[in-house]
């Protein structure tokens, strides 16, 4: 069963890379593609943990989970910080901010609008 699970985990890693690439090309926003990549990498890590627990696999799975948690919270905190900044003063959204999907609207305190097409 270990070999099959390892192969499945490898396939899920490939699916993660392809999915993240498709999302990145489609939305042109790394902040949208990163959670997709990390979600599927987490699935691959869980499959590897199910295969044959060893300290190396445990540490790598824990690292992916911690990284995923860090990135998700970092993105949320960043978006919240931009929205707070937008409420206090007029902030012009630069390319980096637009990539994060947050647009601070001058003259409309506290409002954040998601960028969509």
């Amino acid at each position: 069963m270990t070999g099959a699970l390892d192969a499945a985990a490898l396939a899920v890693v490939a699916a993660a890379l392809v999915s993240a690439g498709v999302v990145l090309v489609s939305t042109r926003r790394p902040a949208a593609a990163l959670p997709v990549l990390l979600d599927l990498l987490t699935a691959a890590g869980l499959l590897r943990l199910a295969a044959e627990p060893s300290w190396q696999r445990i540490v790598s799975a824990a690292a992916v989970v911690a990284l995923r948690h860090l990135v998700v919270h970092g993105l949320r905190a960043g978006a919240a910080a931009w929205s707070v900044a937008g409420s206090g003063q007029s902030v012009t959204a630069g390319p980096d901010l637009q990539r994060l999907g947050v647009r601070a609207r001058a003259g409309r305190p506290g409002q954040v609008q998601r960028r969509g097409r």
């Binding site: 699970l5 699916a15 392809v18 691959a44 199910a50 998601r114 969509g116």
Partner: protein, 134 residues
């Protein structure tokens, strides 16, 4: 230890081992199906729509699949504690169970949070469309 006791212990170990394999395979199947489904949906949605919010429902469903797979894997961890012969194996088991429990907790929290955000956005868009209609 008597011969009968040894046999019973061995039989118990093999029965638990079989159960562990079965339950863990169920968890793996759930995770693989979820990952494949999410992959197909991510590519499909990515080719049709360019809105980042369109991927959120797919991530929510993938999160549910992962949480369900984790429940199976945690069940197999609990079964494994019945037969954990060495401290090394017990330590690994504890680490794996801790990772799975933490991930399950964070996944459930994220699913709730994202679901709330999706509901808020739907409500906002419904209010906006009703305003433009009037």
């Amino acid at each position: 230890m008597s011969g009968e006791g040894f046999d019973a212990e061995e039989a118990l170990q093999s029965a638990v081992g079989l159960l562990v394999t079965l339950v863990e395979a169920c968890g793996a199947v759930v995770i693989i199906v979820g990952a494949l489904w999410a992959f197909v949906r991510f590519v499909g949605v990515g080719l049709r729509r360019r809105d980042a919010s369109a991927f959120v429902p797919v991530r929510l469903v993938l999160g549910r699949f992962l949480a369900l797979g984790l429940e199976f894997q945690l069940a197999s961890d609990v079964l494994r504690t019945a037969v954990a012969p060495s401290w090394e194996q017990l330590g690994q088991l504890a680490a794996v169970a801790a990772i799975r429990t933490a991930l399950n907790f964070f996944l459930s929290r994220e699913i709730d949070e994202e679901r709330r955000q999706v509901a808020e956005e739907e409500q906002r868009s419904a209010v906006g469309s009703s305003r433009t209609a009037t």
